[in-house]
Amino acid sequence: MHGKFLTAGVAACALLAVAGARAAEVNYAAGITGNAVQVFEELVAPWEEATGHDARLVPMPASTTDQFGQYRLWLAAQNKDIDLYQTDVIWAPQLAEHFVDLKEAAGDLVEKHFPSIIESQTVDGRLVALPLFTDAPALYYRKDLLEKHGAAVPTTWEELTETARKIQDAERAEGNGDIWGFVWQGNAYEGLTCNALEWIKSFGGGQIVEPDGTISVNNEAAIAALDLAASWPGTISPQGVLAYKEEEARGVWQTGNAVFMRNWPYAYGLGNGDDSAVKGKFDVTVLPRGGDSDTSAATLGGWNVAVSRYSDEQEAAISLAVYLASPEAQKRRALIASNLPTIIDLYDDPEIAKEQPIIPRWKDVFLQAVPRPSAPTKTAYNEVSSLFWSAVHDTLSGNGTAAENLEILEADLEALKGDGW
């Protein structure tokens, strides 16, 4: 007995000594939607095995606005507990000074990514975050319902409005009382900025603040776009869409209660899961265009990983960041989570094309991606976005017309801009 215990004890000590020499525990803060926790565990397993380090996920709320508030607070307090932050594509200019420059650590990896995404994460020559995946929303539609009612896939917002209403009315007449035409993200938060930017841009109404800093939001096309959108809640969309974020919209969609949905690629994999009521019954396409415009628009989203300047385990953290942005990790992520890679070559990868046929097709969506005005408005972006989504939310809930609200918005933005952003 004694001998056995002794051997076990020695073995344990030896293990501890080996592990103690280099094993670090790094904390990774990220917003959680869908099955993100499992995806993270699967994704970091090879890295943990190779390095002996331990990566722990710190789950954060799904809303990017909530995450940003918390991260800003932690970073301002120089919090040492979080080593890596998963950052939204729009945050780089606002949080740059708290993050480590990853240019050197990433080396050749930088060249493999879409240059525009790398550029969006470069602030004053410092690469403050490495891209994990990109995001561009698409229009999800129910193949079965469109076929059943003899409708074509809409290419304009006007067609979508009409088709949604037609199918919704017909389905309800057949006793499907819970069906809605179109669900999207109408809550007053960053997601509404994305949705509304797509409407306005695809109507030819510009992108709120143009790359050169001009405020362009108050124009006829933008007003027409918002007027059309304001007609949706209560007709083809539930009134509650004004409180929906991504997950609420997906909830209605995935229970089979919506004909169309605007959402990010993550909903594709989940919608085809075994517990989904719409499995195999839907497809995706580019978002519609509107008015006289001939191009549609999809807001460029995407997430990146940044290493905190205040981390005690910077070396291990940087190693994890580089691993997560590497082709092998991005491929795994594409396969298990249907996230869009930021590495150009992966769009031609045969295995991805086979497992996630949607990803090569998303290239079309990606080509029409429009950035939010986070670069021209610099540190004022959050306030610009908040003013914009408030004006849109007011319009959608019938609190003033589009023309009135956009005029006020323009004045507010002018005041915020002052002599320059």
């Binding site: 606005t65 809550n187 869409v241 409180a243 909830g251 908040s386 007011d394 809930s397």
Partner: protein, 324 residues
Amino acid sequence: MATVAAPAQPISPKGRSELKAQRVRAAMWFLLPMVTALFLVAAWPLLRTIYFSFTDTTLNDLGGGEWIGLQNYLSWRTLSSGRTIFRGVLADPNWWNAVWNTVYFAVVSVSLETVFGVIVALVLNAEFRGRGLVRAAVLIPWAIPTIVSAKMWGWMLNDQFGIINDLLLKLGLISEKIAWTASPDTAMLAIIIVDVWKTTPFVALLVLAALQMVPREIYEAARLDGVNPVKVFFRVTLPLIRPALLVAVIFRTLDALRMFDLVYVLTPNSSATKTMSVIARENLIDFNKFGYGSAQSTLLFLLIAGFVLLYIRLGRLNLGGRGL
């Protein structure tokens, strides 16, 4: 301090004053830890916030703000066209909207909680079997952390899968699903419903404690005299529980004026429900305007401080009136 000032033995004046000084010194030492703790957790953050409100500090660089006087509160400049524009919290329509929301919320929710709290307490004060169990059950909403109950109600009030809409539909009270937290007309109502649900037990508990102190003989006397129950309530019960009720109302009002969590979880960005705390946090953190947000926090503090002073004054008058 009362014990310090109550020496009973007749001692010579000199010895007495020395003893007194010694006792005061000892008392000071005993008070020191608490005073230090209070200074660190209450006074220091408060003074720092007030200081920040006179600077243009940002959250990215807390030490780098410059003194800008009262500009966060109010400033104006005249444009070349002759038009004068005002800036600052006091000229900010969003701030006044938040003030209105907060006051409206405080008045409505505290009134409802008081009325329901008294009713619940009266019921619980009655003798019936299983009273202990019911008393414990009523306290549950108060015991659940607000963030949890807010999330729970968020799902219950969800327009598509929410149980509230489902129940109301089945009972035939509404003809179509209501988007409780989405529509500006019902958002505040939803917040008030959740708050009333959560804090009525608090009022009930305080009132119940007071009810149990009311001597039974008074009720017996009233019954013998044949006074009707409604009159007994307004003439006997209410005056006797008034001090406790007042405490409950004050506590609730102070709480309601700094209302944050429910709104932040249920309707974070709806201008129909944004309270002063929510808007101050938004400026402090989301918009990186730390000085401006501090100015809003300071105004909120002044409002609550004013309310407390008013309460203390009213409390004194009441005590004086009763000749105690």
